[in-house]
């Protein structure tokens, strides 16, 4: 536990202006060798850009096929679900509208950052009652919970 913590704190310690960079974007290979020279540590550290370079809908297509995920394609990002969601009011990392959008567009780094929070959904169904497009966000949260663990949803097709 303590070791884990330290590792997290030290992540990207070689980066100048470290606080500019998201944890998710720092790549530090445990061991990196080039031409027999040990390149791990400082020289192996890589900072990925924030720029979105690809739209990838394979996860989204998978969600559509999961139970109660079928209507997710109707979402137009109005945020009504988040507005009424008790969990979103308590924790900014859980946001049903946002989850739907990043999954739709396949923003992998964002998904990595927030996906574990999907399990906070209390299943109260307030969002599904509020949604103007009949997306059933409560159901979509179920589908997303499964999709984030599912190989099929990730593989697409």
């Amino acid at each position: 536990m303590a070791a884990e913590e330290r590792k997290k704190e030290e992540k990207g310690r070689f980066i100048a202006e470290r606080r500019y960079v998201d944890d998710q974007r720092i790549v530090e290979p445990e061991k990196l060798e080039a031409g027999g020279v040990d390149m791990s540590g400082r020289w192996g550290t890589l900072v990925l850009p924030r720029t979105i370079e690809e739209f990838d809908h394979s996860l989204f297509e998978g969600v559509k096929r999961l139970p109660r995920g079928g209507k997710v394609g109707k979402c137009w990002q109005c945020g009504n679900c988040t507005a009424v969601c008790p969990v979103a009011h308590a924790n900014p990392m859980f946001n049903p509208r946002y989850l739907i959008h990043i999954v739709r567009m396949g923003y992998q780094a964002e998904i990595e950052k927030v996906k574990d929070y999907v399990y906070l959904c209390s299943g109260c169904g307030l969002c599904s009652a509020a949604c103007p497009k009949d997306v059933d966000p409560q159901g979509v949260m179920i589908a997303l919970s499964i999709a984030f663990k599912s190989g099929r949803a990730k593989g697409g097709r």
Partner: protein
């Protein structure tokens, strides 16, 4: 049958549906239900199934031993599931939390009462009204019924929520309500109703329990069980370290 003759409850009854038959029925349905649950979850193509928890208990790797893991499992289950600390803890609607809590506690209590009654000598009936096992059973079934009623009314009372509710949610909640209500009714009838009415009620309760067992793997319950065990496993890993 005179009203003074208390009727033996739930388990032993050498009446229309005998004890042995009920045990046989459950012996078939329970495993079937678990298998169906397993298959459904597998159908989602997720690596984790609720049975994975037991696997992580027995995992050979990792420092803490079996005992430590079991303790962690129990405390995680108690915190996350029994006391609704995780998902439920975020719910700002006390009514909703109560509804779900009552259903869960009621269901667990009913199962416990049934098992206890089965373990005690079935011949030693009738059970007195004050018998703790019987009390537990009655209270549990009442809790189950009122919890389900709360959940249903909560959704019925708001037009938008009513319309947005999935058909599977309705079916599941109504089934739970019926299981609880019929249990209470059987017991009430045993105190003074006609024998036939009580028998009919008992049979209908058995039918609803069977339906529930067969339906649960295809309802939202499958997801709740899966998610609940996933949360528990996460706590388990956090507390005891990864199994491998």
């Amino acid at each position: 049958m005179g009203p003074s003759e208390a009727v033996p409850l739930i388990i032993d009854r050498n009446a229309i549906v005998g004890h042995a038959a009920v045990v046989d029925l459950m012996a078939v349905l329970l495993p079937l239900s678990f298998v169906l649950l397993y298959l459904r979850v597998r159908g989602w193509d997720v690596p984790f199934t609720p049975f994975g928890i037991f696997a992580s208990l027995f995992a050979k790797e990792g420092k803490p031993g079996f005992a430590a893991r079991s303790r962690a499992l129990l405390s995680a289950t108690a915190q996350d599931i029994l006391f609704l600390k995780r998902a439920g803890g975020r719910c700002e609607e006390p009514l909703h939390t109560w509804g779900r809590g009552l259903v869960m506690w009621g269901a667990l209590g009913s199962v416990a009462a049934t098992l206890l009654a089965a373990l005690t000598d079935p011949a030693a009936v009738p059970m007195a009204l004050t018998d703790p096992v019987r009390l537990l059973g009655d209270l549990s079934q009442a809790a189950l019924a009122s919890g389900a009623a709360i959940l249903i009314l909560r959704r019925l009372s708001n037009g938008a929520r009513r319309r947005a509710t999935d058909i599977h949610t309705w079916s599941l909640q109504c089934l739970l309500l019926y299981v609880g209500l019929s249990g209470v009714a059987v017991d009430a009838l045993s105190q003074g109703g006609s024998f036939l009415a009580m028998e009919a009620m008992y049979i209908s309760q058995l039918a609803s329990i069977s339906a529930l067992l067969l339906y649960a793997p295809f309802s939202e319950l499958a997801f709740l069980v899966w998610k609940g065990s996933l949360l528990v496993q996460k706590s388990l890993l956090d507390e005891a370290g990864p199994p491998g």
